[in-house]
Amino acid sequence: MEPIISAKNVSVYYGKKQALKGVNLDIPENQITALIGPSGCGKSTFLRCLNRMNDTIEGCRVEGDIIVDGKDIYDPQIDEVYLRARVGMVFQKPNPFPKSIYDNVAYAPRIHGLARNKDELDNMVLASLEKAGLLAEVQDRLHEIGTSLSGGQQQRLCIARALAAQPDIILMDEPCSALDPIATAKVEELIEELRASYTIIIVTHSMQQAARISQQTAFFHLGEIVEVGKTEQVFTSPQDSRTQGYITGRFG
């Protein structure tokens, strides 16, 4: 099957400093791809290339091609605003807007003009909350401020907020690292459910998490992809000694 995202020879510079060195990666549709690697190796940087979030950083330069759904997203024709609606993003720390739960989820439909009227918007918000598995918990407090939720709920709210933009692809940068084990389990369960309709790329520091939920794993080291393949394969018989060292906990 044709990969939905294919990165070719991607290099990223922050000013003079090179953070990614010619990375190649194909990401198949409706699968979960995990990006692992030691801190500072460029996982987040790579993730941020995929929806051009790097554009918002002054002095950041991206080279190489990234093809999403058949188009080079760094083509000047491509509208990064639209791209980001298609390629949603969930961050490490839950970052709900200081607005009501409803307004948080309705944010993307409103700015993108997805709903024609109030009813449609209501439906969209409820459907997104439902998909994020949060609806039951917040049904009767939709107009409370989003920051009043617990950490795990906040992170699922952020996922719901991303879903409401109706993306095809969701990027997650260590979505569980600020959560306790129970909340983590819930979010993981949610991610697995979402796989059916979305392509998910997740950065994680937890080997177990990567092994549990992902189908494909890429191992980053010092700005390069050292190893990429089926998750079982990477974890059971890594080809590269650095990968082996990392997953067995010898460095990283």
Partner: protein, 413 residues
């Protein structure tokens, strides 16, 4: 012996004491090898402290004495004032110095004493600001109470008529003047409002552009340029308002057939707004900067444009801080003096028409106090009542603003 020579001789004595104390400590053989004796200059300071404290206490007593017996010229009190105190002070200083010098020995813990004295001085210095506030409140309050003994407060706060000019003879009709401050308050309000209409959009938009759009280089050049506006003395703005802007508005008015006086509230307000722009822009700049990057990321990650992010996320999140900044700016505008003294009118007009001339609280304070100096007249006292009102209003605004801003900072720290 008058004041200045006395002080100079005291200082000279202290210097001598310092020199002698240090020398004695240095030369004394028993100091060699003493570990915790401290360095000789500490002994010098030790001597100085004993040379300063006794005369200082006496000096304060002297001040109190000469203030309380101010009318008694000549006589016993005059003698005490002129002769007894200065000589007492000199004797006290000499005694203190000699005693301290004699105490110098390796066993003396000079550092402890010196540090205690330094500590006291530090505390005294930092309480000065509190005493300044107390001084402001007391001085304004005393005169204001006197004012309200002459003019009922109902008139001051509720009457619409302000004409403090006294008639020439006491027994003339209306000799007490009229002290209804409402027109001053409305005038102040009108000019402040115009200033805010100019400054808030310009300042806020500049602040937003600086934080969200401008490149580092743009910021580094433009920000200092805008800050120049804040550094220009208000008297310069006043001159500009009176001579350039006021005349310009009048001419434009004539051109389009409007009657604009050259001392219009509009001119003063616009120029005051101009002065406040950098104030608002740099405050809102700080406040917008404090909005966490994660909120911006979240919004951009959902495909929002910068303007959508600013309007829907950043401004709502920064709103308390921005409101605080605006309150501070309002309090500035209310208390601003020179621009209105030079560019607004002196006549108390009760009007909301920005093309007419109005007067403000500060203008009247200046008008009432500059020039004649009869101190207990209602006219002069009125200035203090106005100033107290001004002080109270700006204080409230500042306290609220500081609280709001502090709350806001805590939220994102």
């Amino acid at each position: 012996m008058s004041f200045l020579p006395l002080i100079i001789s005291l200082l000279a004595m202290c210097a001598a004491g310092y020199w002698y104390g240090s020398k004695k400590a240095l030369s004394s053989h028993s100091f060699a090898g003493q570990q915790n004796a401290g360095r000789p200059h500490l002994y010098g300071l030790y001597v100085v402290i004993w040379g300063v404290i006794p005369p200082a206490i006496l000096l304060i007593l002297w001040g109190v004495f000469s203030y309380s017996s101010i009318d008694v010229s000549g006589g016993i009190a005059g003698k005490i004032d002129k002769v007894v105190f200065p000589s007492l002070i000199t004797v006290a200083a000499i005694l203190g110095l000699t005693l301290a010098v004699r105490q110098i020995s390796p066993n003396l813990r000079a550092r402890k004493t010196v540090e205690a004295a330094v500590y006291c001085v530090l505390i005294l210095a930092s309480t000065l600001s509190v005493f300044t506030t107390i001084g402001i409140v007391l001085s304004l309050l005393i005169e204001t109470i006197q004012f309200f003994e002459k003019v009922p407060y109902q008139e001051f706060f509720f009457s619409l008529n302000w004409s403090p000019q006294m008639a020439l003879r006491e027994d003339q009709v209306g000799s007490s003047g009229a002290f209804g401050a409402i027109p001053l308050f409305t005038g102040t309000l009108l000019i402040t409002l115009i200033a805010m209409i100019v400054a808030v959009p310009l300042g806020l938009m500049s602040g937003i552009y600086m934080t969200e759009y401008a490149s580092k280089n743009f910021r580094a050049t433009v920000k200092p340029i805008l800050e120049i506006l804040a550094g220009i003395p208000t008297v310069v703005y006043g001159f500009f308002a009176a001579l350039t802007v006021g005349v310009f508005f009048r001419d434009v008015g004539t051109f389009i057939g409007l009657d604009v006086v050259s001392e219009s509230a509009l001119a003063a307000g616009v120029v005051m707004g101009m002065m406040i722009i950098p104030f608002i822009s740099s405050l809102s700049d700080d406040i917008i900067m404090a909005v966490p990057q994660s909120l911006r990321d979240a919004s951009y990650g959902l495909g929002a444009t910068k303007s959508e992010t600013v309007i829907n996320v950043i401004i709502p999140a920064a709103l308390p801080g921005i409101v605080g900044a605006i309150l501070l700016a309002v309090s500035r505008a209310i208390g601003e003096t020179m621009i209105v003294v030079m560019a607004a009118g002196f006549a108390a007009n009760l009007t909301a028409n920005p093309l007419e001339s109005v007067t403000t609280v500060t203008v009247q304070i200046v008008g009432l106090l500059v020039g004649d100096q009869e101190f207990d007249s209602a006219k002069t006292l009125a200035a203090f009542a106005l100033a107290l009102t001004l002080f109270a209003i700006t204080l409230c605004l500042n306290v609220i603003a500081l609280l709001v801003v502090r709350k806001y900072r805590e939220k994102y720290d």
